[in-house]
């Protein structure tokens, strides 16, 4: 079976939906963070796939995905630091209990 661009796109869509599901349904803040990572990687797959199939001579898609990974790592560092601080105050990282910012 020949692997087409559409296969990659479907994989990326599935991965994105899994990530989104994780973000929306997880109560654990770290779980939400992991969902976000999945969504970012789904986007990365798209970048690489489009780069490979649409413009094989130019590798800007691949480079872009590396930037995304770097930013995701930085984001994860900041987010984990915030979560650590929340845990210190609340002794919990359940986001349903952290609703101090409501009206």
């Amino acid at each position: 079976m020949i692997i087409m661009l559409s296969h990659y796109l479907v994989l990326a869509a599935i991965l994105f939906c899994v990530g989104l599901w994780g973000v929306l349904s997880r109560r654990n803040a770290v779980g939400i963070l992991m969902g976000v990572e999945l969504m970012l990687n789904a986007a990365n797959i798209n970048f690489v796939a489009f780069s490979n199939y649409i413009t094989p001579d130019v590798i800007s898609g691949q480079i872009f995905s590396i930037f995304v990974m770097a930013i995701a790592a930085a984001e994860a560092a900041v987010a984990l630091a915030i979560i650590l601080n929340i845990y210190r105050v609340y002794t919990d990282i359940d986001v349903t209990k952290i609703n101090m910012m409501k009206w």
Partner: protein, 637 residues
């Protein structure tokens, strides 16, 4: 040298400026400044007079104010008339200031007095050399101002303050007419310079009616300044000032200004017979009125003051009947002998410390110099040859005789009055024996006062010789047109006879006392009271003008308080009512709307705040749901 003639009024002006700023520090040296300045301008005036006698005259003009195309000149005129006046005024003012050293000695505003005297002199000299109406009017008002300052010099006395005010206000009434006259002439001819206006008058470009009106208006100024009927009331009150001031006002500066003005503008007056007749009749009325009042006054200065008014009446009458030279000549001789008489009166007052002639008597022995000087002045005033008044008065009488017999008759009656009141003073003050002997403190004045008297006596005695009939040097020097003096010996002897009769009557009543004074007073009680009360002029003015004005003001005040104030108060009340309505609208409607919008915002916020749940997943869900909806909408449409 004639073109430096403008320095004549500048010298005393410098004196004034020095004294007004540094007079207080100079203290006793203050008179030195003003007298040296006055003497300087007197000497310069005499020098100018000599130049003019030798035949030089000058009229100079310098551009002063430029208004559009019109240029107003400042200038001066040196001709026989002004040169004569400059010399007369300069000499007399200098002598009076020397005399003032003694008279004002010890006064607390000593230097201020000399400052005012200097300004007075500067104003008068400026008036004399003026060759246009603007300068004339400025100096004219300055003279009035100085007379006010000097008459009310002892302003701590309420009567002196009032007299100063009266002099200023009464002369202002005349000045208003004078100013209107100037404006009328300016509006008609477009000039303010005398020469230009005289040319216009002589070429008959001004209509006779306007000429007459303006001449009469100009004469109003002279009526006020020279104390003519009906504005003569200020002059007797002006006696409240220090006696040297009275002398200066009466002899040289203030009252002479009016006569000098008429003489200077004689071209205008002589072009209108009506105006000349008005001048003559006002003069006659004044001389009789004042002469008769002088008969009964008990204040030595007031007698001389009324005498001045009467003599000014003579000058005006002389000018009015066409005796130009005669009027000007009398102005000059009168300046000398009246200054002399006033300074003598001042010397007497200085010696006996009263002005009431009832309390004086037999001063001949105690004040011999003053007596001789007063006698010379009196003889000159009464018109006894060879003293100066005789010649000038004789010329006036001849002019009156030639022009109008009624005026001549009335003027003769005036001569009788003059001799009578003059010798009444001499008999009562100096020659009365046995009545009330004056106290031991009567003494002759110091040299600084008697020397000016002696000098003035010489002038008063001999200056008239300039105008001897047949050899009339004065007439050759100052004349108007080509009139030729005609000596009239009949008139001369009638005038002299009348004066002698007056002296004899005075001797009978006051010297020999053959007629009882009390019996005369009771026999002629109505006349006596009328004269004693100065024809009730002050009362009449008080009643007619002051009371009427007060009454009208009262009515106007009532109107003001009720109607005008009422309207204002009503307007105020209405505004308060309107404001209250506006306030209600503001508080309830405008503020209500603002509050309502605020309340709505607050309420909406209160309801909408529940959107903020604080759950991160809610927000995320809404974001993605929103994106989905947008995508669906985009693909569907």
């Amino acid at each position: 040298m004639l073109n430096y003639a403008w320095l004549v009024p500048v010298f005393p002006l410098i004196g004034f400026i020095i004294l007004i700023f540094f007079g207080y520090r100079l203290k006793a040296k203050a008179p030195a400044v003003s007298i040296s300045m006055a003497a300087l301008s007197a000497l310069f005036s005499i020098f100018l007079l000599i130049k003019v006698i030798l035949g030089q005259t000058l009229e100079a003009n310098y551009p002063w104010i430029k208004v559009g195309e019109k240029i107003f000149n400042a200038g001066f005129v040196i001709d026989p008339l002004s040169a004569m006046m400059l010399a007369t005024v300069g000499i007399i003012a200098t002598l009076i200031q020397i005399y003032s050293i003694g008279y004002m000695h010890g006064d607390k505003r000593y230097s201020r007095f000399f400052a005012y005297m200097s300004l007075f002199l500067a104003a008068m000299l400026g008036l004399i050399i003026a060759n246009n109406f603007i300068q004339l009017y400025i100096c004219w008002e300055l003279v009035g101002l100085c007379s006010y300052l000097l008459i009310s010099f002892w302003f701590e006395k309420p009567s002196a303050a009032l007299a100063g005010k009266k002099a200023f206000i009464v002369t202002r009434i005349g000045d208003t007419g004078f100013f209107l006259g100037i404006l009328l002439l300016f509006a008609t001819t477009g000039y303010v310079g005398f020469t230009e206006i005289f040319n216009a008058v002589q070429s008959q470009t001004i209509s006779p009616v306007i000429l007459t009106i303006s001449a009469v208006l100009l004469f109003c100024g002279a009526i006020g300044k020279s104390a003519q009927f009906p504005l003569h009331v200020w002059l007797p009150d002006a006696m409240e000032g220090p006696t040297p001031v009275s002398a200066l006002i009466h002899a040289a500066t203030m009252v002479a200004a009016g006569v000098y003005m008429v003489a200077r503008l004689y071209t205008i007056f002589s072009a209108s017979t009506t105006a000349l007749a008005a001048v003559a009749w006002i003069g006659v009325i004044t001389l009789l009125l004042a002469g008769s009042i002088a008969l009964v006054m008990d204040d030595i200065k007031k007698v001389i003051a009324y005498s001045t008014i009467s003599q000014l009446g003579y000058m005006m009458m002389g000018l009015g009947v066409g005796g130009y030279t005669a009027g000007v000549f009398h102005l000059m001789t009168h300046a000398f002998f009246k200054a002399l008489l006033f300074l003598c009166a001042g010397s007497v007052i200085h010696g006996v410390h009263t002005q009431d002639i009832k309390k004086m008597g037999n001063l001949r022995a105690k004040m011999p110099v003053t007596f001789i000087a007063f006698l010379v002045g009196g003889l000159a005033l009464a018109g006894i040859p060879p003293f100066s008044g005789f010649f000038s008065k004789d010329e006036i009488l001849i002019a009156a005789f030639d022009s109008n017999k009624i005026i001549y008759g009335l003027a003769l009656l005036g001569v009788l009055f003059t001799a009578l009141y003059t010798f009444r003073l001499i008999f009562l003050v100096f020659l009365r024996r046995g009545w009330h002997e004056e106290g031991p403190d009567a003494h002759e004045s110091s040299l600084v006062m008697t020397v000016p008297l002696i000098i003035l006596s010489f002038f008063a005695a001999f200056i008239g010789l300039l105008g001897i009939p047949k050899f009339n040097l004065f007439h050759e020097f100052i004349h108007f047109g080509h009139e030729v003096p005609t000596p009239n010996y009949t008139v001369m002897f009638i005038g002299l006879g009348t004066a002698v009769i007056g002296i004899i009557i005075a001797w009978i009543i006051y010297g020999a006392r053959s007629l009882s004074l009390n019996r005369l007073k009771t026999t002629f009680a109505p006349v006596y009271n009328l004269l004693k009360n100065k024809y009730y002029f002050d009362e009449m003015y008080d009643y007619v003008f002051v009371k009427t004005t007060t009454m009208i003001s009262g009515i106007l005040a009532l109107f003001d308080k009720t109607v005008v104030d009422g309207v204002v108060n009503l307007a105020g009340y209405l505004i308060v009512v309107l404001s209250n309505i506006q306030k209600w609208i503001d508080v309830h409607i405008i503020d209500g709307m603002v509050n309502l919008s605020g309340w709505i915002t607050a309420a909406a916020g209160n309801k909408l705040k529940y959107i903020q749940t604080g759950f991160i997943q809610n927000y995320t869900f809404i974001i993605f749901a929103g994106i989905l909806i947008i995508i669906i909408i985009r693909t569907a449409f």
